[in-house]
């Protein structure tokens, strides 16, 4: 494979000329890269959508809309509702389940529990696949490095059978092998960048949800006290 000194150094030749393990590594890296980019774009859209919906809902909520009509709107648009709407809906639903006149503390406690449960689920949804991005960012350079090391090992081993060693004997093998590293880095760099960015965004959203939960429980408590 790498013993033949190929003058053609084009990209396809380098890939097809690589050893099986290097090719396997390249395949894995390509799939990882595709997946990670898919998740990058998915999370980009999801988080951007979530932020927009949260902004919208907060705007509507703090403008003093009627809680019952808000709840109705949320349950009607349940497929496209945002996380904050769901938290609101869960809390409001739990709050209304209790008959009027029951223990306020117990009502508020159960309401808060319901909201917290929804909040956990929503955060789980928002943070899904972010761990995958983190894994890609940390692991794919090593996978690429494995392919590179293997390729270089092969090219040097083929060099041992040659009496007059020239750089032309080793160069194609090393070039093949280095493609694996390039692929690994290509998969890793955007994944790391995206992970950091999305993690900070979800953290921001989490604080917004938590503060909303506290504020909503206050609102509901005042409503029960009335």
């Amino acid at each position: 494979m790498s013993t033949t000194v190929t003058q053609d150094m084009s990209f396809l030749h380098l890939i097809t000329g690589a050893s099986v393990l290097v090719q396997l590594v390249m395949l894995i890296l390509v799939m990882i890269s595709l997946l990670s980019w898919w998740y990058i774009f998915r999370k980009l859209f999801v988080i951007r959508n979530e932020i927009n919906k949260t902004d919208e809902f907060e705007d509507v909520f703090w403008r003093g809309a009627d809680l019952n009509s808000l709840y109705q709107r949320t349950t009607n648009s349940r497929y496209v509702s945002g996380s904050m709407e769901r938290i609101f809906a869960a809390g409001f639903n739990e709050f209304n389940k209790h008959p009027i006149g029951s223990d306020l503390d117990a009502v508020m406690e159960s309401t808060r529990r319901a909201m917290r449960a929804t909040y956990q689920r929503e955060m789980d949804y928002l943070e899904s696949h972010l761990s995958f991005l983190a894994t890609v960012g940390s692991v794919s350079p090593y996978i690429g490095l494995l392919g590179t090391v293997w390729g270089i090992m092969n090219s040097f081993r083929s060099l041992s059978s040659v009496t007059q060693a020239t750089i032309a004997h080793v160069a194609p093998g090393i070039a093949e092998a280095l493609i694996a590293t390039a692929m690994g880095l290509f998969a890793a760099i955007p994944a790391v960048v995206a992970y950091n960015r999305y993690a900070s965004r979800t953290d921001q959203l989490a604080t917004r949800f938590e503060s909303f939960m506290e504020e909503l429980s206050n609102v509901l408590q005042r409503r029960a006290a009335q």
């Binding site: 003058q7 053609d8 150094m9 084009s10 990209f11 396809l12 380098l14 390509v30 890269s33 595709l34 997946l35 980019w37 898919w38 998740y39 990058i40 774009f41 998915r42 980009l44 859209f45 999801v46 959508n49 949320t74 349950t75 349940r78 497929y79 496209v80 509702s81 769901r86 809906a89 869960a90 639903n93 739990e94 319901a114 689920r121 949804y125 032309a168 390039a182 290509f186």
Partner: protein, 321 residues
């Protein structure tokens, strides 16, 4: 109920297909970049091909030579072949021409010769012919005489010319001789001048030498004078120093003289002092010897080249100054 409904309906993820499409697009762009990038870097391998060309140029150079010359060489060959061929025809043609033309000419001459007699024969009158012949003869004689005269004149003229030439040559020779003489004179003069100049130079050089010698002699004399004066000065100093150290024995009769030969070391130390001539008074001799050894180091000139004058000193000490 509604809660369960909400829980059972997970989020409808927005634009997940678009995300997949975008991911594929990104990879396509990346692969395209890689392909073009590596193909773009493919040209250096063509540089490797250029290295192979460095081996090929010899055949290539030969091939162009072979390919280019064929147009060139065939032409010369064709030209060369035609050239040899034309010469063959050309020699043949001249031969033919020669072969053809002489016969033509000979007949012409024959025809010309023949017509003249024919024309002469056609004239019937013999007398006239004789007269004419006589006239012709006379004329011929006259012509011959004239020719002779002319020839004589020519000879005379030639002789005159020869004489003139001889004279000229003589004159030239004379002039040449004169010139040679002048040149010789000039050379002689030059030689004389050179000799004179050489003599002058010699005289000048001799004068200069004399002057230089005189100067040198004067310098040497001065140096000698200086040296001698310095030697004398230092000898006097040595003697004075020794005299100053002598403890004179009292009441010696007359003016006894003690002579010591002193061997000195560079620096003024005394290696040895021998009594070469006694004064006749042992007290004075021993006093002088003690004084000599007391007065070391003896004063010596600072110039070390003068030390040889002091290596073996002969010191005369008078009892009375």
């Amino acid at each position: 109920m509604s809660v369960s409904v909400l829980r059972n309906y997970p989020h409808s993820e927005p634009k997940s297909l678009l995300a997949g499409g975008l991911a594929i697009l990104v990879h396509l762009i990346f692969i395209a970049l890689l392909m073009f990038g590596l193909n773009w870097k493919d040209h250096p391998p063509e540089g490797m091909i250029v290295d192979i060309w460095t081996e090929l140029p010899k055949p290539i150079v030969q091939e162009p030579v072979k390919t280019q010359p064929p147009p060139k060489q065939p032409k010369p060959v064709q030209e060369a072949k035609p050239k040899p061929e034309p010469p063959k025809p050309e020699p043949a043609k001249p031969e033919a021409a020669k072969a053809v033309t002489p016969p033509v000419k000979k007949p012409d001459i024959a025809l010309k010769e023949k017509p003249e007699p024919v024309k002469k024969e056609t004239k019937p009158d013999l007398e006239e012919q004789k007269k004419k012949e006589q006239e012709k003869l006379k004329e011929q004689e006259r012509v011959k005489e004239l020719e002779k005269q002319k020839e004589l004149e020519k000879k005379k003229e030639l002789e005159k010319q020869k004489e003139l030439e001889k004279q000229k040559e003589l004159e030239k020779q004379k002039e040449i001789e004169k010139q040679k003489e002048l040149e010789k004179q000039k050379e002689l003069q030059k030689q004389k001048e050179k000799e004179q100049a050489a003599q002058r130079q010699r005289e000048q050089e001799a004068k200069a030498r004399k002057e230089a010698e005189a100067q040198r002699a004067a310098q040497q004399a001065a140096a000698r004078n200086q040296i001698t004066s310095e030697i004398g000065k230092y000898k006097a100093l040595i003697l004075a120093k020794i005299r100053s150290r002598i403890v004179m024995p009292p009441d010696l009769p007359g003016n006894p003289v003690a002579e010591f030969s002193v061997t000195l070391l560079p620096g003024g130390d005394i290696l040895d002092a021998r009594l070469s001539r006694s004064s006749g008074h042992a007290a004075f001799d021993s006093a002088v010897e003690r004084a000599i050894f007391l007065s070391k180091p003896l004063p010596l000139p600072p110039d070390p080249s003068l030390f040889n004058e002091f290596r073996n000193l002969n010191i005369k000490v008078h009892y009375l100054e």
